[in-house]
């Protein structure tokens, strides 16, 4: 070596050494979350300067940065050594390592995750971390693997999108061929559109990809990404097709999104069809951010069906509004009482200071008013208990809150273990405490058959008892077990038991326990005829198989309770199994109560398949008018069958 070269070589060696070691990958830090001082629940210590703690996204970014610095083999080794259960603190870190590994070796990472899932259900983001890069490499392999993880369809959009980064045309052809993926293909098409708008739009024009739900997204993307090609794409969609309709709706939404004020001005000049398309996005926009006066004048210019639709949008948005906006919308001029009532149904987040206004408004609401009242009081009792109890007392005294609402509220609060329930009942006027106490007694008896039920059984009338039972059973039907329901019913006095059978939602498994009690009540004549009728009818409906139900009715003592339930059960049998129904009816005396009605049901069931048999049965109807009517029915049915296409 020439001495003159020594300094040059030394400098080169220095530089090489410097860069090699400076860039040498660091070992990953496993502890990403700095240790915190324990904090008590109520009183967080004040003032002290703590180190910055990364938020969840920050931890993810940090973890990804660290994982990016490791080699694939390091990532693989870390994951393969992982043993469940996984500490939640380290979840972000391991996810990043898994992503790093899967980015280079998606097959191996997927196979590892399959093994892992034998012991612990993998989090959705873990499945996504391995399947998304796998889809980018080989879509079919990703779908095969997804079958193992029991993956839901909703995520196929991201796999198609990943596959489109490698082969957009092939991915869209796949989505076209397998129609269950076509509606998820919007993001994949976007990838293609961004890369090669000419080819993507040409494929759309020439092909037959017309899935309407994906078309909405696709047209919106073309309008933003390749507006110059929009006209050609629209022209290729056949007039009157659902794809064209979806596209036009999508364009209307884009227009409103871009400039709501201009869209509002334009709205009045549109044709009826175009108005309908723009109505949805415009109504949504106005409901979310329009001034009340602006909304009122918009509503005033709408036709009845349009107004109904726009009010529905407003109703949805009200539940998201803050208290001030909520009030200003509820007080909007020009609303009818029913319209205003319907808006109040979603305004249950108002505070207790507006209780009077809420209760007055909700009176004109529809079928969900009862739930709204419940939500209003339960929500406010949780947020502002003292103010709410004062308001509730005053509303109850004034008759604005009825007994049934109080019972439903008691049920809800007791099931959720609310601490304010006891105080709430005490805060009520004394004359209004019986209902809530009856509900508490029912709850007690459902969990402990020995519990005292007198607060319920002592209620003054049937209506009150029915309200109490409704509030306990109607909202959470499936909550109580069969044994609890039947134990409660058997615990009641005979007359009240029959009442309750009509109110408590029963299933087939309840039948065996209750049938003897009902039969006994009929035999001993210990209840009113109406109660017995209703109880037998209700109980017979719990039996799925109508011939079993009919057998049970046959076993009951003669009388109105049995006779009134028979035709309904027979009707079910006639529809399901006409032959058995015929055999049963033949075995009964012709004087059996309700025979004409039962024959009519049988005839209706067989008229199409066996007109001769139907005619024979119809002739046995004793009431002349009915007989004539049923025979006419058979004739019409026969004519229809004769002219029907073969």
């Amino acid at each position: 070596m020439k001495p003159a070269l020594t300094p040059v070589l030394t400098a080169i060696a220095f530089a090489a050494g410097f860069f090699l070691l400076r860039q040498w990958p660091e070992k990953p830090h496993v502890d990403l979350v700095p240790v915190q001082q324990p904090a008590s629940v109520q009183n967080l210590p004040t003032g002290s300067a703590l180190p910055v703690i990364r938020s969840p996204l920050g931890r993810r970014v940090e973890a990804r940065k660290q994982a990016a610095g490791m080699s694939i083999s390091e990532a693989r080794a870390i994951m393969e050594k992982l043993v469940p259960p996984l500490s939640p603190d380290k979840a972000a870190w391991y996810l990043a390592v898994l992503e790093r590994w899967a980015s280079a070796e998606p097959e191996a990472a997927t196979a590892w995750l399959r093994r892992w899932s034998a012991n612990e259900k993998p989090a959705p983001e873990w499945v996504s971390a391995v399947l998304t890069p796998l889809a980018a490499k080989d879509l079919r392999s990703a779908l095969t693997a997804s079958r193992f993880f029991g993956w839901r369809w909703t995520s196929s959009a991201s796999w198609l999108q990943a596959a489109a980064t490698k082969d957009p045309a092939g991915t869209m052809a796949f989505a076209e061929k397998y129609s269950q993926f076509s509606r998820e293909a919007g993001p994949a098409f976007r990838v293609w559109l961004q890369r090669d708008p000419a080819a993507a739009c040409k494929w759309l024009i020439d092909g037959s990809f017309r899935d309407s739900s994906a078309m909405r997204e696709i047209i919106a993307d073309i309008a933003f990404i390749a507006p110059d090609r929009l006209a050609a794409v629209m022209a290729a969609l056949p007039e009157g097709s659902s794809a064209r309709d979806a596209a036009l709706t999508s364009l209307a939404a884009c227009e409103v999104d871009r400039d709501p004020a201009a869209a509002l001005t334009k709205f009045t000049s549109l044709s009826e069809k175009e108005r309908l398309r723009m109505l949805q996005p415009l109504a949504e926009q106005l409901a979310a951010r329009g001034k009340p006066s602006e909304i009122a004048s918009f509503l005033a210019g709408l036709k009845e069906n349009e107004r109904h639709y726009a009010l529905n949008q407003l109703r949805d948005q009200i539940s998201y509004a803050g208290p001030e906006r909520m009030l200003s919308l509820l007080r909007m001029p020009g609303l009818t009482e029913a319209e205003s009532g319907s808006l109040f149904e979603n305004a249950y987040a108002l505070g207790p200071q507006y209780a009077a206004e809420f209760m007055a408004g909700i009176k004109h609401g529809g079928s969900s008013s009862a739930n709204s009242i419940l939500n209003f009081w339960a929500g406010n009792l949780a947020r502002q208990p003292e103010e709410t109890m004062t308001a509730l007392r005053s509303m109850v005294s004034g008759g604005e809150v009825d007994r049934s609402s109080l019972m439903a509220l008691t049920h809800l609060l007791n099931k959720s273990g609310s601490e304010v329930l006891g105080r709430m009942i005490e805060a009520l006027p004394e004359t209004h405490r019986a209902g809530p106490q009856a509900v508490l007694a029912l709850h007690g008896a459902l969990t402990n058959p020995e519990a005292d039920l007198s607060a319920f059984t002592g209620l003054p009338d049937t209506a009150a008892r029915r309200e109490a039972l409704n509030s306990v059973f109607s909202t959470q039907d499936s909550f109580w077990e069969s044994a609890q329901r039947t134990a409660l019913l058997l615990h009641l006095p005979a007359e009240q038991r029959l009442e309750a059978v009509q109110t408590v939602p029963l299933r087939e498994e309840d039948f065996a326990a209750l049938a003897p009690a009902v039969a006994e009540a009929i035999r001993s004549n210990s209840a009113s005829v109406e109660s017995m009728k209703a109880a037998v009818d209700t109980l017979s409906k719990t039996i799925t198989d109508p011939s079993t139900a009919l057998q049970w009715l046959d076993s009951l003592p003669e009388g109105p309770a049995r006779d009134s339930a028979r035709p309904g059960v027979f009707g079910r049998l006639a529809y399901k199994d006409p032959e058995s129904a015929s055999a049963w009816l033949n075995s009964q005396p012709v004087t059996i109560e309700g025979r004409d009605n039962m024959v009519e049901m049988l005839v209706r069931s067989i008229a199409g398949s066996d007109p001769e048999g139907a005619t024979e049965w119809a002739s046995s109807i004793r009431n002349e008018d009915k007989r004539r009517g049923v025979l006419d029915l058979i004739r019409i049915q026969s004519e229809r069958t004769a002219t029907a296409p073969k």
């Binding site: 779908l143 029991g150 397998y178 269950q180 919007g186 097709s241």
Partner: protein, 480 residues
């Protein structure tokens, strides 16, 4: 050896030493977008010093931020916000109130993602500003994704003011309390348990679960002291054996506890492949099973104990809906066994009383898309009667058949959804072929649906009308 030969090696060593010593935070291998932003501050940096770094803002408005949405989603946006002043973050968040109402889910996802990134950055740089912004958010607009960032930001702020804001937030948004419990569980499990007990919440923080699972005696005591709330404790013990869980459940009396015990026992039975217990629990499963946990248990059994799964399916006649779902799962991993079950007595109940055919359909179609050849040969090997039941549910299985076979296999059945006519059109535009195929469908409703789809997808309306006329001729029906 001459000295001049050795000197370069000293140079190499010196360079390496200098390089190693100069390693720092900023030498981490950059991610795809890191070049746009300044380095992330170290964990020990204070709020004050972070604010001072704000001059390095890479983004100047929301539009730019939106354009940066990429594969990294919210995480990528978060990175771009490094160094953006808190006032600017708060101003951008302000612009998001109230949020857009445009209903396209992708667009909404982008907006929520940006919002999440803004909230989390603000929670790190200026929690007081975050608290002020949170007070303005209308009820109902708070999204879980960024709620986590907001609540953790307030907890990390650790001041009386932030505790006040948090208390208010908890009163109006129960989810805030859950996030707080999760945060606390990692730091002070006793306090977290106390908080959990005070809240009427069934979801126990993961950290707390792990803590309780490590101490089964404490878990049992908790279940005893708090009837109706044993579910999360049982979930914590989820990896215990079936017999251990059964012993735990035997002491429970509250109906809610017993109801919630069902899915956990079911999963334990699935893990052990215990078909008898599985059938027993399954038959008694409530009408509205909890959290779809029965699905997870079914899937586990099908994947890890396929033979036990078949035993279950042979003995589950009284629950056609659940039977259908489980068969759908088995169809994709064990198609032959599933096919055999399609003709079993349990299947008769399913076809008759209406389990949902879509449960089978979805699984079969996924199989068809992922392994078309296998799915197709399975379909062709089915007995004729069974094939005629399966084809209307899973047309995709026939997707790779030659045209003649495809038309003959899909025709003559009853339509169960949209898309079949479009597929037919991809195979042939011959009006005679399409008309004969449409006419082969026995019910009028199916034919009308097919013709409507053809009208929507054919290039000229007249071509579709001609086919409709030809179908009428073939069926010999009088014009309406």
């Amino acid at each position: 050896m001459k000295l001049s030969h050795v000197i370069p090696f000293f140079g190499l060593a010196a360079g390496a030493a200098t390089g190693w010593l100069s390693r720092g935070e900023d030498t981490a291998v950059p991610t795809a977008k890191q070049s746009k932003s300044s380095a992330v501050a170290s964990a020990g940096e204070t709020n004050h010093s972070r604010k001072a770094a704000s001059s390095a803002a890479a983004v100047s408005n929301l539009k730019e931020l939106r354009a940066l949405w990429g594969d990294d989603g919210a995480a990528g946006i978060y990175e771009q916000l490094e160094g953006v002043p808190a006032a600017q973050l708060a101003e951008w968040l302000e612009e998001y109130l109230p949020p857009d109402v445009r209903s396209y889910k992708v667009e909404r996802r982008v907006r929520e993602g940006i919002c999440q990134a803004l909230v989390e950055r603000l929670s790190e740089s200026d929690p007081a500003a975050l608290a002020a912004w949170l007070r303005k958010v209308p009820h109902g607009y708070l999204d879980y994704g960024w709620m986590v960032g907001a609540v953790e930001g307030l907890l990390n702020q650790n001041s009386a003011d932030s505790a006040g804001v948090l208390a208010k937030l908890e009163a109006t948004h129960p989810i805030a309390g859950r996030i707080k419990a999760e945060w606390l569980a990692k730091r002070d499990p006793d306090a977290a348990l106390q908080l959990f007990v005070s809240r009427q919440d069934l979801t126990m923080p993961d950290g707390l679960k792990a803590w309780l699972a490590g101490d089964p005696a404490r878990a049992k005591q908790f279940a005893k002291d708090h009837p109706g709330r044993a579910y999360p404790v049982m979930a914590a013990l989820g990896d215990r054996s079936l017999s251990e869980l059964q012993a735990f459940v035997a002491d429970l009396k509250d109906p809610a506890d017993l109801r919630y015990a069902q899915p956990l026992l079911l999963m334990a039975a699935a893990k052990e492949g215990n078909a008898a217990v599985f059938v027993d629990l399954f038959s008694r499963l409530g009408v509205n099973p909890i959290y779809n946990s029965h699905d997870d248990a079914m899937l586990h059994l099908v994947r890890h104990h396929p033979e036990a799964a078949q035993t279950v399916l042979h003995n589950l006649e009284n629950r056609p809906a659940l039977w259908g779902r489980m068969l759908g799962m088995l169809a994709v991993t064990q198609p032959e066994q599933a096919a055999a079950l399609l003709t079993s007595p349990s299947a008769a109940e399913f076809w008759k009383t209406g389990g949902n055919p879509h449960d089978i359909m979805r699984s079969l179609n996924l199989w068809a898309a992922s392994e078309p050849a296998a799915a197709q040969s399975w379909l062709l090997a089915l007995p004729e009667e069974l094939r005629s039941k399966v084809v209307p549910l899973a047309w995709e299985m026939a997707a790779d058949l030659p045209n003649d076979d495809w038309f003959s296999l899909t025709g003559g059945s009853r339509l169960s959804g949209r898309g079949l006519a479009r597929q037919a059109l991809q195979r042939s535009t011959d009006p005679e072929v399409l008309a004969a195929w449409c006419a082969s469908f026995p019910d009028r409703n199916s034919r009308e649906l097919l013709l409507r789809e053809l009208r929507e997808n054919m290039k000229t309306p007249q071509a579709a009308e001609n086919i409709a006329a030809r179908v009428k001729e073939i069926r010999k029906t009088p014009p309406p």
